[in-house]
């Protein structure tokens, strides 16, 4: 390829459409009285999530002659929850998030995320609002909903909440993933494999599709379900082969949150990854009281891909990582 690397990876016409998507989103939230906020891209703490790799840097300057370690945020979640704990009320943010090790047709290491929080909403009320936003921006049909359990039952004929590792390995082998299954010690990576390779392509093709009640073992920062603690108040949104959004009925319990961070770090040790310091300011905010709320992160670049009919993320961002 002899493409000129000074030139944008997106066409100017696409960037105009992108600007209009952003304007629509801002108008959507303005009409609903949700306040736009901005939180730091550079944070003193990172995340324990075993599947997220952070970019690290250092501030050197007044009062920090020896350097202050800083991390590019993988999402604005912790900082926004600190604002909620401080009484911000409903907030949204359109900002950059950074994830190392991620690059491809649907990934760029630096990308734009829309994240918003709704005090007083549960995950289903938030799904309603996301559905409205989707219809506003994409003029698409109303979203459908299916539980994680029903998705596995419908498309693969198994119950993901009641399956043994051995049975899951056999199922993976049946779909051609025997090498991955052979060495895997845990259920969740295999569920994720089957979900993204075998279920995702079949859902959300014509209408957006919410998958809710993810297993408790993949709860991340969601509350467990009161009625069925095997599942969590976590949902994802899929449309036309892309994962668009991930949302939670937010966990507000500081000690439970701290315990999950510890579990992440135990898993990191098992996987040979370095431990990550827990974000104490975030935990202190939960301690002081996070209002009951639901929140969601939505990938704006992927939304623009859908709005413009582009098949690669670099076609909707001004300069992808190869041109940055």
């Amino acid at each position: 390829m002899n493409e000129a690397l000074w030139a944008p990876s997106a066409q100017i016409e696409t960037l105009k459409q992108r600007a209009s998507v952003l304007a629509n989103i801002r108008a959507f939230f303005a009409a609903r009285d949700v306040m736009e906020v901005e939180t730091p891209c550079l944070s003193q703490a990172s995340v324990t999530d075993v599947h997220l790799a952070t970019f690290a840097t250092e501030f050197i300057g007044p009062r920090y002659a020896k350097g202050l370690p800083l991390y590019l945020q993988t999402s604005p979640e912790f900082a926004m929850k600190r604002l909620l704990a401080a009484g911000s009320g409903a907030i949204f943010q359109i900002g950059k998030a950074f994830r190392n090790e991620e690059s491809g047709r649907h990934h760029n290491p630096e990308f734009t995320m829309l994240e918003w929080y709704r005090p007083g909403f549960d995950e289903f009320a938030l799904m309603d609002e996301i559905d409205c936003l989707m219809q506003t921006v994409l003029s698409c049909k109303q979203a459908v909903r299916i539980s994680y359990q029903d998705a596995f039952k419908t498309y693969l004929g198994v119950d993901p909440l009641d399956i043994e590792l051995d049975e899951l390995k056999l199922l993976c082998a049946k779909y051609g993933y025997e090498e991955i299954a052979a060495t895997e010690q845990f259920i969740d990576p295999l569920l994720q494999l089957l979900f993204c390779m075998e279920i995702e392509p079949q859902i959300g093709r014509d209408t957006p599709c919410f998958v809710y009640h993810f297993p408790a073992s993949q709860a991340a920062l969601a509350q467990l379900n009161d009625a069925d603690p095997r599942v969590a108040g976590r949902f994802e949104l899929y449309y036309q082969g892309m994962e668009l959004a991930n949302g939670f009925n937010e966990l507000t319990d500081a000690s439970e949150q701290s315990k999950r961070f510890d579990e992440d770090n135990d898993m990191r040790t098992t996987m040979g990854l370095p431990k990550v310091e827990k974000d104490q300011r975030f935990l202190a905010a939960l301690e002081s009281g996070l209002p009951a709320c639901a929140g969601v992160a939505l990938g704006i670049d992927r939304l623009v891909m859908l709005a413009t009919g582009k098949s690669s993320i670099k076609e909707v961002i001004a300069f992808d990582v190869d041109r940055a």
Binding site: D49, S103, G104, H106, Q192, M197, E243
Partner: protein, 188 residues
């Protein structure tokens, strides 16, 4: 041979799969926002020619394949092997029927072909994109129509059969695109 991690995967990389050397055609990262990353890879097996998809857990490694390509001139066939020569060193290599495969019909003496070697042995022979061959047989009765009614079959010296325009006759040399097996033009 070195091992390659999924981060080193790219089109053209040669790896071992099921005991067979393969070339990577496409590599795509698939990663849920909150979950394990995978690489979905499209590969072509270099001996069987089969194209298949394979999924790896990101970060895993696979064994590389000692595959290299070399440009050699076709010399002759002895009934069992097809012989090629490096025009600079005069070193010769013999490829068997399996390596030559269907491309046998495009082998023209002295044409420079690309020979794919695995551990030093020829496993594939790729002819030049265009070859020139003489027509040994075609229906002479069909004349005069140049409007392109689909043409007629013509047999070439190597046994290859190509559709040619109606005005092309026995004894003429034609240029053929070996990638598609289609007639390009007459050669004067």
């Amino acid at each position: 041979m070195a091992n390659y991690s999924t981060n080193e995967f790219k089109g053209g990389l040669k790896i071992m799969m099921d005991g067979e050397p393969c070339t990577i055609l496409e590599n795509e990262m698939v990663k849920p926002g909150k979950g394990q990353a995978f690489n979905r890879v499209k590969i072509r097996k270099l001996i069987s020619g089969k194209v298949l998809e394979k999924t790896f857990k990101s970060g895993d490694s696979v064994e590389g394949a000692d595959v290299m390509e070399t440009d050699l001139a076709y010399l002759y066939a002895d009934g069992e092997f097809w012989h090629f020569m490096n025009n600079d060193t005069f070193e010769q290599i013999a490829a068997d029927e399996k390596a030559v495969g269907e491309n046998v019909k495009w082998l023209v003496e002295n044409d420079v072909c690309t020979i794919t070697l695995w551990n030093g042995n020829p496993i594939a022979v790729t002819p030049p994109n265009f070859v020139e061959l003489e027509i040994t047989d075609t229906d002479p009765g069909l004349k005069g129509d140049t409007a392109g009614t689909g043409g007629k079959p013509a047999t070439l010296t190597t046994g290859a059969v190509v559709r040619v325009p109606l005005f092309v006759q026995i004894g003429e040399v034609i240029k053929v695109d070996t990638r598609t097996g289609e007639y390009v033009s007459r050669v004067k």
